[in-house]
Subunit: 334 residues, 2 copies
């Protein structure tokens, strides 16, 4: 079985974005909150069958962990009610997709974060999606302001989120949304910078002593983490931080790295128990490398070409995902 | 010949920091600007002979491009006169070191940047150091605010800096200073994030069409750039940006990457013409890997173990440095 743990619903029917536009317009004008126009099951099917589902099947994948479009989460919008309504609308669509394709798509939730936190609302949405609707995890934005105006994810203000995730035995992918700073291109710089920043925040803290069962997935192959593994080990020793390898008890990286040398490095540096197959599709990068004809985000091809034992390959392709996302194992009857 | 292009004067005599402390105290109290206490040539010699010079020689290096301590530049302090006096004091010490060891140390300047720019002062210090004192390049901070409050380095407000560098045929290393945001550990996250952010800023712009002779060195092996090379190629194609490989006409990466797999990836992905040997010592990471006994920043060891032709090795070890830093070639009579 091949499980892609990082797919985004970037192809939702236009009603979703129309709802968002109306929501932001109402916020600006002080008008009433909008309702979303109905979307039929056929429209939902079409939106994935031509896109994520087609590509997943063409490439030989079986299951995709599926969450709302990351750059569209827009947690920088300060109003908590708006954030809650937007997260619910986005999550409900992902939930319907997962109900239509229960053995293929497993839903992961957008959280109604705001720059001020909205932690109560976040915990409520975690409980609604994971506990009531069977979501297998959540996407947690370490920078809801989009300008890094908030506190590191190791600050105690975040602890209610981790308490809920531990209690529900669900992991979080740590995933930023749109950058609100012209220095950081969202997909090119902000996503990768966030991965590095969060890893170092964790390295400096004792968060996992307090939350030993918490599991965090850092996407995009961990940003620069495997490439600079020696730097992190050396910094940790010099500064008296924990050994970076100790983080592998709780931290996992995905394989959204779009060329063979990068995947090879990832697998060389990070234990096979901590690497989860992912494409991030349809995501930041679309189309094929003209030099090879391989689609950039067809990371399965890179993994197939990588030097991996059969046992390690099975871990990366599915076993780790079933362990990190026990809700997925339950959904699939494993 | 082996040229290390990234050394910092992190071991300056205590008078330098005392001057800085007095300067900041004067700024806070509105008092008079301090003068720096005299430092003897013997004290200067001692400060490097026990440190950078010893390590360089022990490892078999010949020349080090040497600049003031990067995290100490502190461009976030807003007062332009303070920034100018601090840059001059720091640069004058580096200049004296280079005069004491003219065939070993080649100076690179700290610039008196401020969050508001202080571009006239910056250009004045570029001319003073490069044109009058024989500095071979400068360190340009893409985030003088320390909070990324300024404009990308491709904004026209930066152009006078590039005009001066082009005219003087001197390169800039793009190097941030202390982060003023608790989300970003300075040495662990901020440095690497800056490298990525700047690379993507350049990728999105036509800066080098306007300044075809400008040469920028991105340190720390380019942050995450080689690891995510496929992502940048794919993003560039999707967004209609230039081919990332086109940047290799003007952009160079150093080898401050502290483990073998990282160095191997760097050399695999980036043309040998664009990689410059560097240790960043005495820098972010000190001490040795207990697993191998190799000092983290002894990047020469990783390069010796890497698969490189003799011709490419000569480029990385010295030829590229002499080409990118023509002032260095002139100093060495090459």
């Amino acid at each position: 079985m091949i499980i892609d743990i990082h797919g985004h619903y970037t192809t939702a029917p236009g009603q979703l974005q129309a709802f968002r536009d109306a929501q932001l317009a109402a916020l600006a004008s002080g008008g009433f909150s909008p309702l979303m126009s109905p979307i039929s099951d056929d429209d939902l099917r079409e939106s994935v069958e031509a896109n994520q589902l087609r590509v997943l099947r063409e490439r030989g994948g079986d299951v995709m962990i599926f969450s709302p479009k990351a750059s569209g989460m827009e947690h920088h919008v300060a109003d908590a009610d708006t954030a809650t309504a937007w997260a619910r609308a986005s999550n409900d669509l992902v939930h319907r997709i997962a109900e239509l394709y229960p053995t293929t798509f497993a839903p992961v939730a957008q959280l109604p974060q705001t720059p001020a936190g909205n932690i109560d609302g976040v915990v409520t949405e975690i409980r609604r999606t994971v506990d009531e609707l069977g979501f297998v995890g959540v996407n947690l934005n370490p920078d809801p302001s989009g300008t890094w105006a908030g506190r590191p994810i190791t600050d105690e203000s975040w602890f209610p989120v981790y308490e809920a995730l531990e209690e529900l035995d669900a992991p979080a992918m740590v995933h930023v949304s749109t950058a609100c700073n012209p220095n950081f291109h969202t997909l090119g710089a902000h996503y990768l910078n966030a991965d590095v920043s969060v890893f170092v925040q964790l390295l400096q803290s004792d968060l996992f002593e307090r939350f030993p069962a918490l599991r965090l997935v850092i996407p995009h192959g961990g940003g620069a983490v495997p490439y600079h593994w020696g730097r992190f080990r050396g910094l940790a020793m010099r500064n008296g931080w924990q050994d970076p390898a100790d983080l592998w008890r709780n931290v996992f990286l995905d394989t959204a790295v779009y060329h063979q040398p990068g995947i090879d490095l990832l697998l060389d540096v990070v234990p096979a128990d901590n690497v989860l197959f992912a494409s991030e599709m349809l995501g930041a990068v679309r189309g094929a490398d003209p030099a090879t004809g391989i689609e950039w985000d067809d990371t399965l091809r890179y993994l197939e070409a990588a030097s991996l034992s059969d046992a390690d390959r099975a871990k990366v392709m599915s076993e780790n995902a079933l362990r990190v996302y026990p809700g997925l194992a339950a959904r699939l009857g494993r």
